[in-house]
Symmetry: C2
Subunit: 365 residues, 2 copies
């Protein structure tokens, strides 16, 4: 049997509370189903900085490289606002993405029927919404050099960031988008700002070439990223798979998540290329929400995004499709039953805490 080594990096804020629910689930699966998950833990973000002076230690980084999959909670909080840039909490996440070469970030934006009414958008606009944002994650302005602040003298400084994309990077991320579209509604929308950015011109060109050469059966549209943001707000159901770069993907996936009315519910997967020999992809799974320091430690955080991230982990890293489906159904069932954490509470429903929500999902699983 293939190994199932998981590294749990709970991080800061509500990360540990949410991760605790996944730990319970894993323990239950190991005992009742003999699932054979082996877990190890490490520190990332502000807690790693406090312990080691770095947002992730080399030892934990090595564990992540060796694991079959990493489950990641959340990082950051006001406590670390004044920490130097190089060791700020986010640097841990960015190092994981870069060193593990997790170039493909999959962010589903799904509107759970039980929650359609809690979106700030009209119910008919978001009901049944199911889109997938495929965000490039190891390139663009996140990692391009030069990236620096220069002192120009006379009280003037210059801040510089560099957006860089190479053909192969655009090719491989669009390949992932087209492949995934084939398992869905067979429609990809590529977003960039080719009217302003040269990297956008190249992005547009390479996506079109990749489409023509290998995925002509998939419907492909190109949209300017600003227009794409508007269309997401106007009528999101026009989209199936959206493929876009690191920075636009950051913005657009957060907006798509917010449309669903349930940012506390949405998981994500970050995948590397399949290994030439083993075919295994390095992978990290994390909720779309952040560390929510304002509610941390109160036992009221919504663990669903973290649990749904574990479902994605089973699906993409371990081929446990049936179990992933069942876990996602369990989440939907508990919502249908009326259980709500505070962030998604509405009148007439039953408010529960983090642990109760986790227990209820495990019980339905």
């Amino acid at each position: 049997m293939a190994s199932k080594n998981l590294l749990l990096l709970a991080g800061d804020g509500i990360g540990p509370e949410a991760m605790a629910e996944v730990k319970k689930l894993i323990a239950a699966m190991n005992v009742k189903l003999g699932s054979g998950f082996i877990t190890d833990e490490g520190l990332v973000g502000g807690c790693a900085y406090n312990a080691h002076g770095a947002a992730i230690s080399d030892a934990d980084m090595a564990k992540a490289m060796a694991a079959d999959a990493v489950l990641f909670g959340a990082v950051g909080g006001p406590k670390w606002d004044a920490v130097p840039y190089e060791v700020r909490p986010e640097a841990g996440l960015l190092r994981l993405r870069k060193d593990m070469e997790l170039f493909a970030n999959l962010r589903p934006a799904i509107c759970y029927p039980a929650l359609a009414a809690s979106s700030s958008l009209k119910q008919e606009v978001v009901e049944g919404l199911d889109i997938l944002i495929v965000r490039e994650l190891t390139g663009g302005v996140y990692f391009g050099e030069p990236k620096q602040i220069i002192d120009l003298g006379n009280g003037q400084k210059r801040g510089i960031d560099t957006q860089v994309y190479d053909t192969f990077e655009i090719e491989r991320i669009s390949g992932v988008a087209f492949e995934l579209a084939r398992t869905r509604k067979n429609h990809v929308t590529s977003m960039e700002k080719r009217n302003v950015m040269k990297s956008g011109v190249l992005w547009n060109e390479v996506v079109a070439q990749t489409h023509k050469a290998r995925y002509a059966d998939v419907k492909l549209d190109h949209m300017l990223a600003d227009a794409g943001g508007m269309q997401l707000v106007r009528w999101p159901k026009q989209f199936d798979v959206i493929v876009t770069d690191n920075l636009f993907g950051d913005m657009l996936s957060d907006i798509a998540a917010m449309l669903t009315g349930s940012i506390g519910m949405l998981p994500s997967a970050s995948l590397g290329a399949p290994d030439a020999k083993t075919k295994k992809r390095k992978a990290l799974y994390e909720p779309v929400h952040g560390s929510a320091p304002d509610i941390a430690g109160k036992g009221i955080a919504n663990p669903i995004a973290m649990i749904a991230s574990f479902a994605m982990c089973m699906r993409y890293s371990f081929g446990m499709v049936a179990e992933a489906d069942r876990l996602e159904s369990a989440i939907a069932a508990v919502l249908d039953q009326g259980l709500r954490t505070r962030d998604i509470f509405s009148v007439g429903k039953t408010e529960v805490g983090t642990a109760e929500m986790g227990d209820a999902i495990i019980a339905k699983f």
Copy 2:
């Protein structure tokens, strides 16, 4: 009396139709009120490319530099999709912004009461919405160098764009935001990605310094741009003035515009620094909407954004505050009366064309 020389650059698509309504209004004001506007016209965008092989000719550029204000329609369309990057329609607009040094782009997102129901967002989320996005317009990734595509050989290319911000650029745009906030709800939210971008770190630092040194009476919040996008969708009324960079401003202002359910209604102003001697600012006024080639030439485009842009022009370039107020009231009155162009039509209202809408507003003015 100060001169009132206007250069009208109607551009492509629905630009000319919308501009025609402003021309009628200007003619009426000159005749009935002796307003003394003097207008000249020029070409920009695809039509300029067709005529001169450039997105704006040097002669028209010189006219823009000399005018007291420029009224701009819209540029672009599928006809010019294959035109070389350097002469694409957008290049005309970008040259105007850069050469005129229009660093401050003011984009109000206002929800007209008569249209609150037509937003994709719930009525209570957008009703009464009145926010102002102050977007930096002559810096950042739009103009930074290097900006190029390099051929790496082996079928590989590299697309590069550079985001650059200097202290003085951030200082002057945040000054504009703070000044405007004082005339509104006295609250500025600055948005960047300081957790990923060095230019974001500098942005954050300079906004905070400017605030401390000169605008400590204004409430200032900092928000990451991705979180800002989410918050715009979740509860936009938490904002008053948002100040952000060129690229984030492009995305966020389009999203804010879409929230109002009336992107066809929203104007913008792009302002330069006051001249040391004359105190006059160079200025360009344009609708937020694009050229909408699909409906161009049909007489159904909504001229309100263009007319509202002229209201901003009277307010900011000519100090005609009373006239600007009256024009804005005329727009609201016509909407209250039930007149709608097709883009904002809803059952029970009266559908009118571009010219009828323009006439109705002029009649109420």
